[in-house]
Structure formats: C-alpha cells, structure tokens
Symmetry: C2
Subunit: 203 residues, 2 copies
Amino acid sequence: MPPARGDHDARRRDVSRAVWRVLATRGFGGLTLRAVAAEMQASTGLLTHYFPTKQDLLRTALEVLDQRNQERPRRVAPAEGLAALRAALVDVLPLDPDSAAENRIWVSSWDVALADPELAAAHAERYRRSRLRLTEHVAAAVRRGEVPAGTAVEDLAAAAQAFVLGLVVQALFAPGEFPPERQVALLDGWLAGVAAPGVTWDS
Amino acid sequence: MPPARGDHDARRRDVSRAVWRVLATRGFGGLTLRAVAAEMQASTGLLTHYFPTKQDLLRTALEVLDQRNQERPRRVAPAEGLAALRAALVDVLPLDPDSAAENRIWVSSWDVALADPELAAAHAERYRRSRLRLTEHVAAAVRRGEVPAGTAVEDLAAAAQAFVLGLVVQALFAPGEFPPERQVALLDGWLAGVAAPGVTWDS
C-alpha cells in the first residue's frame, strides 16, 4: 500500500533538506544516495524509490536549489533603474553565511551541469532568464538617464552577470580577501564605470 | 623489479593524457580510476599504483591542468599597461575549442576544490597569483596615463579577474549567445569603462 499523500509530501521535504545539507558540505561531487541516506538516517533502498538513477538525484538537487533561491528572503527593497540593477546584483553576492553556502552549491553545480546536455540546457536557461531581468533594469536606467543613451542594454546586462558570477567565485575561494564590504565596493566601482558619461556599451 | 626510469616517465605522461581526456569529456565529477583506466585501456590495479587515493587522483588532475595551462601557446604578444591587461584577459576566454575545453575543466574543478580545504587553498593561491600579475599590468597602465591616476590597482585587478571568470562561465553554458567576437566586445566594453576619465577605482 502506498503511503498517504501527506506522508509522501513530508518525506519529500525530508529528502530535499537532506540533499541540501549534503550539497552544502560536500558539493555535487559528494552527492550520492549513500550520503543523502546517511544524512536522513534512512536506508539507501528507501532513496532508490525517489531516485532510481543518479540523474534523478542531480535533477532533484537542482530543483531544491531553485526552490531555495526563490524562497529565500531578499536583502533589498525593489527599486527602479540603476538602483534596481545594483540591488539585483548585490543580492547574488555571498555577503553572509547563508548566501555563501547557496553560492557554493551553485558554483559546485556547474561541474555536473556541464557534463550533461539536459542539465546544461536547464542551467543556460536559468542564466538567460536572469540576464533578461537585468536587461530590464538596464533599459530602465537608460530611460531614466542614469546610463548613457545608446548603451547596448543586453550587452551591459551580460557584463553585469559576468561580473557578479566571477566575483562570487573569487569570494568563495578567498573570503578573507573579499569580505562583504569589499565585494560591494567592487560592484559599486563597476557600476560607476557603467554610469560614466562618454562610455557607451555600443559594441 | 621496478620499471626503468624512461618507462616510468612515459607511463606518467600516458596517465596525464588519459586524465585530461576524462576531464574534458566528463569533468571532475566523472573522474574516477575506472574512467582513467578505460581511457588508457589499462587495469584499475595499475592505476592504484599511481593514485592510492581519490585525493591523489584529484591532485594529479589539478597538476595536469596547471601544466597544460603553462605549456599552451599564448594567443597574443606581450605588451605593456592596458594592452597587456587586455591581452592577459583575452587569453583566458574560451575563444576556440581548445580553450573552451580547458576552461570547462577549470570551472569543473571548482566543485572538488571547494569541498577540500587543501585543494581550495591551492586554488585560492592560483587565483591570487593571477590577480598579482593583473595588478602589475594595471599599475603600468596608471603610470602610462591609460587609467586614471588614483585608481586602486588591486581592486581593478580583482574586478578584471571577476569579469573574465564570470564571462567564461556564461560562454560555456551559452556558446551560441557568447560567440568569440561578443566575448571580446564585452571585455572591450568593460575596459573602456575602466579607462574612462573621471572614473577612478578608489573604493
């Protein structure tokens, strides 16, 4: 007899939490059925019910990551134009232990994602959507006169995304050299260049 | 009787090449003794002689990566100041299949490196040295008047590194959206902001 629906959902939540804890400590390279089972004090047999293949486990892990990302509290109030762009970028940075853990898992996910065409496509789509949101902020900044007219808004959004992703990687490997205040200062330095009169992103 | 020295070196080269091929196709997540052995058409028993532990295999893989990186032909002639900074950054980008493969392996290495304090420290040191080289180029650019006086050279070098690392990640996931000419154009857009009068990286 299959478990009642409520039991099933509760168990799925337990599984999701265990997957998250394994990812936070060992990354995707350490994500195995055995590790998740140990984290739950359950049998690997139970888990093969949820994850018949390694691919299923990875897909679930990425879903957990998406869900965590959507549910986490945002640091900053919504704004418009350059302020909104800045807020969206600040929000990505590993400025506290929770966001450092989350970023560490995202960076870790790039390895498995690049090794699998389906996961790579899903990741590409995630980053494309993120660039679209940044593009809207840049377009608003141009309309508000905060960024020079003639700016190639999609290029500037792509540059913004590149900048924060690379900053995340640097900060994860060298947290001592990249404390929160320096990360924000570097971002503000980049934004100052973006907003400088006479510099147009018209590549 | 141990093999003659020449045999030993030749075998090590075979092992290194096999490790490289496994990394290029499967990333660090797919790097196992079995995969390397299959690539060499050798037994896993032979390989345990070279790699008693998984940690040894990972360390060797990172050494192979370092060595490949040092040996690969550079695209650009050395220059000074802003031109040297640009050349060093262009050189990182995945502008052809070989550098895409190499970058894919580096990005993949971040997962295992972040999961292991010793490997993480080694990676942090690699990126720190790279930032030092970029800092020298930025300092020369300031001396040559190509970048505003008063620029915080270490911050600008860190920003440069962040920008190209993030651009690499974007280009690997979305090569169609980031063809070589767009990567270079994005980099040049960033450099134009850096060199703009009135924008100083004095965070």
